[in-house]
């Protein structure tokens, strides 16, 4: 069914026509000694129809069947300590970014009439993928720790591919973003299976960069492609709204924003993008 040109990502595959959540399925398999044995490093769990997708902090992730990518990868990043796990977040975000960028530039390159801002692919801290100001996809990482080691990391990815209509105005899909700005017609419908194959290649490439300890490169590219990086923009924290500028992320992934010429470090949910 799939033809992966990867070393180990997706070489072991569990296909579910329908499931509640691929992350939840992986967690359940890992909680049982017998099923844990068949979850090799790089196992892909993929479904056509996710009925109870998990978004951030218990939010749901709604997706039309067969039109989008909903998958989980089971990884064993034993080379990372638990307190280094934000690196996983960065490489997964970059892998998705690479994939989406390859699609968007292929379709709209040389189209000078296109508003670059509306079509630029960005990683929104900490782990959403944006096109312009709209969300294309998200990541949900769930780890299993034993002591200070990461025994398993379940990388859940939801990425909108062919869906044309959304309940919320801030969502978009690859097809919508590839719409020709002049004719307002969709450029094509993507083959979701091929998209999954390509996505896994990009993800594996980034994961191997981390395994090879190319952390400076990973962090540099994560920041370079970050939504509103080094731009003056409005934010909101516990003290109210303010104009600030994203300066970077720290070792554990806290967002560093320059506010009134001072650096502030924010945990997720301590700061809002306005």
């Amino acid at each position: 069914m799939y033809n992966f040109s990867t070393l180990f990502f997706g070489k072991s595959l569990i296909y579910l026509p329908e499931c509640l959540s691929t992350n939840e399925y992986a967690l359940q398999m890992l909680s049982d000694k017998n099923s844990e044995k068949i979850l090799f490093d790089g196992t892909l769990i993929i479904t056509d129809k996710q009925t109870a997708g998990k978004g951030q902090a218990g939010n749901t992730w709604d997706t039309n069947p067969n039109e989008n990518i909903t998958l989980s990868l089971v990884l064993k990043p034993h080379f990372l300590d638990a307190n280094e796990q934000f690196w996983l977040n960065m490489v997964v975000a970059l892998g998705i970014f690479d994939f989406v960028s390859s699609k968007i530039t292929n379709n709209i390159s040389n189209d000078l009439d296109n508003d670059l801002d509306n079509n630029s692919v960005k990683i929104k801290w900490s782990n959403d993928i944006f096109i312009g100001n709209k969300k294309l996809g998200g990541i949900l990482i769930q780890n299993i720790l034993s002591g200070k080691n990461i025994n398993y990391s379940i990388i859940g990815i939801g990425l909108n591919i062919n869906q044309l209509h959304f309940n919320i105005p801030t969502a978009t899909s690859l097809v919508l973003a590839s719409t020709n700005a002049n004719t307002h017609t969709p450029i094509n419908t993507y083959n979701v299976r091929v998209c999954v194959e390509e996505l896994l290649s990009y993800l594996e490439k980034r994961y191997l960069q981390l395994k090879e300890n190319k952390k400076a490169l990973i962090k540099f590219e994560y920041l370079q492609n970050m939504y509103r990086y080094q731009e003056k923009a409005m934010f909101e924290d516990i003290e109210g709204t303010f104009e600030g500028e994203i300066i970077g992320v720290d070792e554990i992934g806290k967002l560093c924003i320059k506010k009134n010429n001072k650096l502030h470090y924010y945990h997720f949910k301590e700061v809002k993008f306005l």
């Binding site: 967690l27 951030q56 902090a57 218990g58 300590d81 638990a82 307190n83 796990q85 934000f86 996983l88 977040n89 900490s126 782990n127 949900l140 990482i141 769930q142 780890n143 299993i144 720790l145 034993s146 002591g147 200070k148 025994n151 300890n213 952390k215 400076a216 962090k219 540099f220 920041l223 300066i247 970077g248 554990i252 992934g253 806290k254 560093c256 320059k258 650096l263 945990h267 997720f268």
Partner: protein, 170 residues
């Protein structure tokens, strides 16, 4: 120069009898200076050089890296579980937080708690979830035993190495 290389360099300097070292390359100026005048190179001497790394070409302006490096073997425990030698802890084992984050005793607010005081726990059983930056971590028991005390309240922040549970081994 990579952070790892700088660290190696500092470790190398720390093991030498030198009190102060200045190194300058095209990319970096590194100044390593010892705090104490205690003679070094003795296994018992506890030396903490202060290290300042000031990259000249900064990717992130206005961020200064300051770190402290121990010359002795790192005191960080290898495993998450260590014997608590506290006065009233007896033979209990402390399960410590492997990371900075927020401590949760159940997977969702309305879900049952993973463990309660008095519960028998098995190796591999989930004790709690620690969340940081939207990454969720199930912390598994490395030892079998009985939960004696839960040292952190639900939904409160935890530091690296902060004690979470007291466990009586069985």
């Amino acid at each position: 120069m990579k952070v790892e290389e700088i660290r190696d360099l500092i470790n190398f300097i720390a093991q030498s009898p030198l009190d102060e070292v200045n190194i300058e390359t095209d990319e970096f100026k590194i100044n390593v200076k010892r705090n104490s005048g205690v003679p070094t190179y003795e296994k018992t001497a506890y030396v903490q050089p202060q290290v300042q790394v000031q990259p000249q070409a900064q990717v992130q302006p206005q961020v200064q890296v300051q770190s402290q490096v121990n010359t002795e073997t790192p005191i960080t425990p290898v495993a998450n579980v260590s014997n608590n030698a506290g006065a009233n802890a007896g033979n209990y084992i402390t399960v410590k937080s492997p990371m900075i984050g927020t401590f949760y005793r159940s997977s969702k607010p309305d879900s049952p708690l993973f463990v309660n005081v008095g519960d028998e726990i098995k190796v591999g059983q989930t004790l709690c979830i620690i969340e940081a930056m939207k990454l969720f971590n199930e912390v598994e028991a490395e030892i079998a035993g009985r939960i004696v005390k839960i040292l952190v309240d639900n939904a409160s922040p935890v530091e690296y190495d902060q004690p979470l549970f007291l466990v009586e081994p069985v």
